[in-house]
């Protein structure tokens, strides 16, 4: 099948990010053009190993401000490690990460991280969880954030009475209340049932389009990646194996032929790549 509206770059990622010529894409139409508020990320020669295992090897990557990038790959391919390094939660052995051109070392208020688990404080009400890290003057923002995720009616309950999807929505509200310019999502929908997943995907996409932050999503689910992202990066054994632009207009239909074809394409690529370690 001919590949037309996507660019496949199979590379051994040895050239520096500055030479990284990413073809212009102009398909994504934003609800409001606030994409300038997203952070531009550049990663140079990133390596990380745990003991003898090289999790990431000399990785280079540039991410446009306000774009939505999905990172996929087999378990253990280094995708979560990459996300943690980008956030500053962990430190790389070698290499540099730039936020808007300046070196980034430790996590700060510009970036927010959503984990696979909601990680809500069980001893605080929902609204107080969203208020975490805010000062008193900013408290009204918390309720707004809860409204954005449609949970303002549950503001005063304990997290333990919420469903898994609701907890992740609270975690999303907690992230967004700080108006992050970069949202890092480490399989936040992995533990949810199929229907809740779709609702959450729609919610994340909508908020991303409204707020204009840069989003990086690590996921196992290829079709989730294709449905949400502008660009899908396939990692294999710590290297970029595939880098695809997804030029499908939004809002996207889950039944879209092209979308499913792309998903299948990536899936086949993963399945046919031999596992050496």
């Amino acid at each position: 099948m001919p590949i037309q509206n996507l660019n496949i770059r199979r590379e051994c990622n040895v050239y520096p990010a500055s030479n990284y010529a990413k073809p212009k894409m102009k398909v994504v139409e934003k609800v409001n053009q606030k994409s300038t508020s997203g952070i531009e990320i550049k990663i140079e020669n990133l390596s990380k190993s745990f003991g003898d295992i090289n999790v990431l090897e000399n990785l280079n990557l540039a991410i446009k401000p306000g774009s939505f990038v999905a990172i996929v790959g087999r378990s253990g391919c280094g995708k979560s490690t990459l996300l943690r390094l980008i956030s500053g939660l962990d430190q790389a052995d070698v290499g540099t990460i730039y936020y808007d051109g300046s070196q980034h070392n430790a996590i700060n208020g510009d970036a927010r991280f959503m984990f696979q688990e909601a990680r809500l404080l069980p001893w605080q009400s929902v609204i107080n969880n969203v208020r975490l890290g805010l000062n008193k003057a900013e408290f009204p923002k918390a309720l707004n954030a809860l409204k954005q995720v449609g949970l303002e009616s549950r503001a005063d309950v304990w997290p333990s009475v919420l469903s898994g999807g609701q907890r992740q929505r609270v975690a999303l509200a907690r992230s967004l209340v700080h108006e992050p310019r970069l949202l890092l999502l480490d399989e936040p929908l992995g533990a949810l049932d199929a229907l809740t997943r779709i609702e959450m995907q729609n919610l994340i996409e909508r908020l991303w389009r409204e707020l204009g932050f840069t989003a990086i999503l690590v996921t196992h689910d290829i079709f989730e990646a294709v449905a949400l992202a502008d660009r899908v990066i396939l990692l294999n054994e710590g290297k970029i194996d595939l880098d695809l632009d997804i030029n499908i207009a939004r809002p996207r239909q889950r039944s879209d032929m092209e979308l499913n074809r792309l998903g299948e394409e990536i899936l086949q690529r993963i399945l046919t790549t031999p596992v050496t370690s």
Binding site: L89, I107, N108, R119, W123, W158, H178
Partner: protein, 262 residues
């Protein structure tokens, strides 16, 4: 089945636990009245009630309860706050843990009641000795459970705290301390048990006031009714303390699914 008979059934179920104690007390009363048990061994239940009334009227009983409660409370406050502080310190700061924990664990293995002769030499039979023993008794359960609670704080939540730029104080108040609280409260309940136990022994051996003294004094005059009364007062105070701790748990751990009522 009608609702009424269901209610009746559930009432019977709830009350059934009380059947045996009531029968035992009734048998005890009959046995004492008929002289099967002499009052020197065990007084009749009604005699104990009499003793309670007489001692209440004279004010002796209240006086002694007050003194014992003060000793218990003082010891709990001192030993508990030292235990809590050291537990937090060693749980949070690794260097403190390295220097202090071994020593504390060694001292823990000395049964504190074995210190009574030494404590009498140190403090005489005054208040300090008893408060000291109670403090020592409550220290370890509170220390150990606080330490354990801090160590059990969820690393995932701590990492989340880092993402949200919490400073060390916020990390402590928002994440570490609330995580440790269920464990600390378990420590408190154990400590309350140790508190009364220590006090009973200490008051029985060396004292001139308090419930234990009341019991030992009565023994000299073979007033078994007062002795049994003292035992019952201890039981009641112990139960009260435990209920208070329970209420505290319900209040502070409302968020915890295991403690939610209704």
């Amino acid at each position: 089945m009608s609702k009424r008979s269901q209610n009746y059934l559930s009432w019977v179920k709830n009350a059934s636990g009380w059947l045996l104690p009531i029968l035992l007390v009734a048998f005890w009363d009959v046995a004492a009245r008929n002289g099967w048990i002499t009052s020197k061994i065990l007084p009749a239940p009604l005699d104990i009630v009499h003793a309670a009334i007489n001692l209440s009227l004279s004010g002796d009983m209240l006086q002694n309860i007050l003194i014992s409660t003060k000793r218990a409370g003082g010891g709990l406050l001192i030993g508990g706050s030292i235990g809590l502080t050291l537990g937090l310190l060693n749980g949070i700061f690794r260097p403190a843990d390295r220097y202090l924990d071994t020593t504390i664990q060694m001292i823990r293995n000395v049964p504190h009641l074995a210190l009574i002769p030494l404590v009498i030499i140190w403090f005489g039979i005054g208040e300090e000795g008893k408060v000291f023993l109670v403090a020592l008794g409550v220290f370890f359960p509170i220390y150990a459970n606080t330490y354990h609670g801090i160590k059990m704080a969820d690393p995932q939540l701590l990492e989340m705290g880092r993402v949200y730029d919490l400073n060390p104080w916020q990390l402590f108040t928002q994440i570490i301390f609330p995580s440790a609280l269920p464990s600390i409260l378990v420590g408190l309940r154990y400590a309350l048990g140790f508190m009364w136990l220590t006090l009973i022994v200490a008051e029985t051996i060396a004292t001139t006031s308090g419930i234990g003294y009341m019991a030992m004094n009565a023994r000299e005059f073979m007033q078994t009714d007062v002795v049994v009364l003292a035992i019952l007062i201890y039981a009641l105070l112990g139960k009260l303390a435990d209920t208070a701790a329970n209420l505290l748990e319900l209040r502070l751990l409302q968020w915890h699914p295991n403690f939610r009522h209704g």
